[in-house]
Amino acid sequence: MTGPKDPPAPVTPGKPAVLTPPRAAGQTPPRHAGAVPGDGSTDAQIRRAGKQLIFTAYGALRAVKLYPVENSAVQKALAEVTLHSKELIGTEGELELKMSGEFIFINQTRLRLDLDNFASFSHLLALFRAAGVGSVTITADVAPKDWLIFLSLLQAPATDDPAERLTELTAKLEAAGVRTFTLAPPTEPGDGSVEKAKERAKRTYTQSVAATRELMASVRMGGSPNIKKIKRVVQGIVDQILNEETSLIGLTTIRDYDEYTFTHSVNVCIFSVALGKRLGLGKIHLYDLGMAALFHDIGKSRVPQAILNKSGGLTDDEWRLIASHPWLGVLALFQVRGVQELPYRSMIVAHEHHMKSDLTGYPRPIRERQISMFSKIVAVADAFDAATSRRAYQTVPFTPAQVMLEMRDNPRRGMDPVIVKAFINLTGIYPVGTLVVLDTFELGIVHAVNPIPDMLSRPLIRVVSDPSGNVVHPGNLADLAERNAEGVFLRTIIKTENPDRYGIRIGDYFV
């Protein structure tokens, strides 16, 4: 028996969308055989066992990919994954792996994503997504041979679109006599969920910009802004990033010259939260990071607007004023209301976000200090967004790829190399919003990082011009990992380009 009105598709930013995969109307929540009703510890057991299953499945995937079938490493890995799946079925009565957004559910219990498991989670998720698999049900008589066939098929080169791949995969499993795996498509495909996600992302983004504008205006006027709204928008950004980050990251490509300070703060917040997620931070930590990121430039609201908007070169005094924004931010944050205690972490990040790893940069600390991890994350996000944006004193922005390479290769930038690496892992070698020239003479805009982990250089792109140079809008999505029948990639990036040169406004393709 279930509640009166099962939630429809998860359209709210509240829990339903985040924690539980949608359940069809009228569907009764399953009672797990062997589970003690109401026993909270059962969840913990499932999480533990589920995590173990994912680890061993990941290990088996790698073993199958690297070694011949008869290799003992493969046999051992298959035996382990079989054992863990049987154990779960033994205690739970059933075993269903379900993929929803960035989460994996085992029998409707969400597995916790953290730093020590994100690589295996993300690899499996990507494979399932690429194969069009939303859920896998495994029966009790599963054998190592079944796992071997399933994992081998899952890793086979992707030549079709996900929906076709699922059909193909199901047929191949059947042909191989594997009856212990039942595959199903994602529960929300093709029902406009992508559009809904985009709508949610747009709403979150615009609300965030509006709240940031209001906050900074209030600080500029010397008021004591209430940050209740800011908290809510950061919570929204965290929810969005945890569920479906692509849409929100896409919106960071929007460049509104007049709103730069506000959109920049929101973009840095989005990048930081997404990067934090990639680094394995939990929800509440992401919230802390998001708050700090959104506030990182609050000190600019105490710098005269005439200087912020000055297009020509800055005098030494003007530069000094600009460079004072990190510590002015600390003082500005003493003004905010609506917090149980002072926003310490945000203050530290505001102060440190222009300090380099070797403590050069600005401001120069007098007392001994170790730059905070959050400051390093925000510094990378800030540098990336600032350099790729058109601003008063930067009329020609750098391309995302240029910035990425500079951050990676130039140690004088003082970025933490591991965080830069993780950032590239997040955004792909060609970050979202990059205009690329393809070997087909088409132009494309990077839409999202490829979900297949080793395809970072082959993102999903939106083709925005045909080979004859006709610019199209909105253009079609293309997966650069797609190959033809001979296994040759259909499209390959030749180079990145400045969109101005082609009269293309990137943001238009994300709104």
């Binding site: 509640g3 009166p4 939630p7 930013p13 509240g14 829990k15 339903p16 924690l19 929540p29 009672r31 026993d39 909270g40 730093l115 690589a119 709403r203 983004y205 609300q207 509006a210 209430n226 209740k228 709204k229 809510r232 929007i254 460049r255 509104d256 010259y257 709103e259 680094l279 394995g280 931070l281 929800k283 510590w327 003082l331 003493f334 209301r337 609506g338 401001p363 600390p365 905070s372 390093k376 058109r390 591991v418 965080i419 993780a422 070698i429 020239v437 132009l443 982990p453 250089s457 004859s468 140079g469 030749i494 180079k495 380009e497 101005d500 040169r501 082609y502 009269g503 293309i504 943001g507």
Partner: protein, 576 residues
Amino acid sequence: MTSPPPIAREPTNAPEAQEPPFSPAPIEELLRSIGKAARAHQMYLPNNPVYRGAIDALRAAFKPIWEETDEVTLTIAEGEIRWYDTVVAGDAAAQKASDNLAWLFYKDGVREISFSKGFEEIEVVVLLDIIQRTRKGGATEDDLVAMLWEADLVYMKYKYVDLLQDGGGGELADGTIVKPAAPGDVERGARKAVEESRASSIVNMSEFDSTLYFLDEREIDYLQLEIKREYQQDLRVNLVAVLLDIFEAQPDPDLRAEIIEDLHSLMVHLLTAGHFRGVATLLRESQAALQRAPDVTPEQRKKLIELPETLSGPDALSQLLQALDETPSLPPNEELAELFDQLQPTALATVFQWLPRIQTERLRPILENAAGRLAGANTAELVRLVQVADRDVSSEAIRRAGALKAQAAVLALSRILFEPDVERRLLSVQALMEIGSPGALQLLEKAIEDSDRDVRVTAVRGLTLRMHRPALARLEAIVKGKAIRDADRTEKMAFFEGYGALCGDTGVNQLDAILNGKGFLGRREDAEIRACAAMALGRVSTPKAIQALRKASVEKDIVVRNAVSRALRGSAPGMP
């Protein structure tokens, strides 16, 4: 400008009323139980039986529901809560008060809540806590939705309308101005790029090696450590360092004034949060900044010096000590010591006032140490406190003056010797005795004639201990005098021993006469006096004194004979 639709709409009702699958009675009971438990949560501590009873009843109220379903979803309206179109709590006309559960949820935008099996175990208490915080929270504090989000409950879901946001915040558009390019230009540009790249092998294949961007074990370990460090760092102490760095680097007077104001406000925050290490750092580092910062104006100096003064003031320090004495979780000793190290001389009076009142065993020695340090370093303040009207403060100051052998306090102590309060005179004598300077001992000489017996005894013992020979004449007069004969045995003994310790052979005749001499009609002195004389001779311990003692060794009076024996034993070679 158009506004995007709100995040969640008011739940649209089903076209026709739905029949509940089972009786609403258990749901009604559950909501009543939540209301009762919320009140209990607000009024009682968790170990209170009433509270425990309410929580148990609430948990029990879930049981009949879980026998019917695994999840229950409730719709929140302005004054009522519905389940399957049946009102299960409140009514539409109900008051918009915070004790109305429906209104409490509704006013913050919550429109639907669902509980799943397992909620009653742990999360139910979290919800009660959130309800309480919402009820008590002011307009600027987090609302229910923000708190539910932070609580990250697994067994409770909710839907809400976002009342904080004004619609969608406006349209989203890229404001970049670009000049459209002709198709021919686009084609030429693309072809040129492709040809150039083919010609020059511009593409660096190493950029395409995705595995370069996967984090290896070492990097993951590094990140884990960094995350740990992020959450282990002392943000408050860090912020103190930041503010003082800014203070030192920025000479602008307005900015410095603002920073000083922020430091004052930060100190209050830190005290309120019980973060005493932060307070200690703030006070210590602010004084260091004062030394280092260039161009500090007298006003800035005054304000920075005021920081530790503020905490050392009677009001602030009393509050702090009271809070520490009452807290169930006293901070570590080192943290407290670090804080007390920053107290200023002006804190002495308050510390002295609180020392006798402190109930917490662990706090007392730390405060004692602080008092000792402060008093030792600030004798002038200590001397001032000796004379203040507050009896507790003055008495503690007298004790400290003695313990510190503070000669500067002698004059102040002398005044106390003329006060009518015996206890204070006694304290003063004890302090003078510990100080032991010539001036102090002179005062003790006078004190042996005090009207109070304890004061006299203490004074004479002090003089004896210090072997203060100038007091001999006075002691001899007393020993010869009649008044001592009326004193109790202890006093007699103190005076005779004092006399014995100071007189040497010159007093032996006098003592011998008292011990062995006979008066009119062969009458001897009182046995107690003779015993005291014997003890005094024992203190003299010269051959002549021993000879006098031996004369009395066959004494019949048991009191005298015992005293003689003891004196002889005590005066034997090698005896102290």
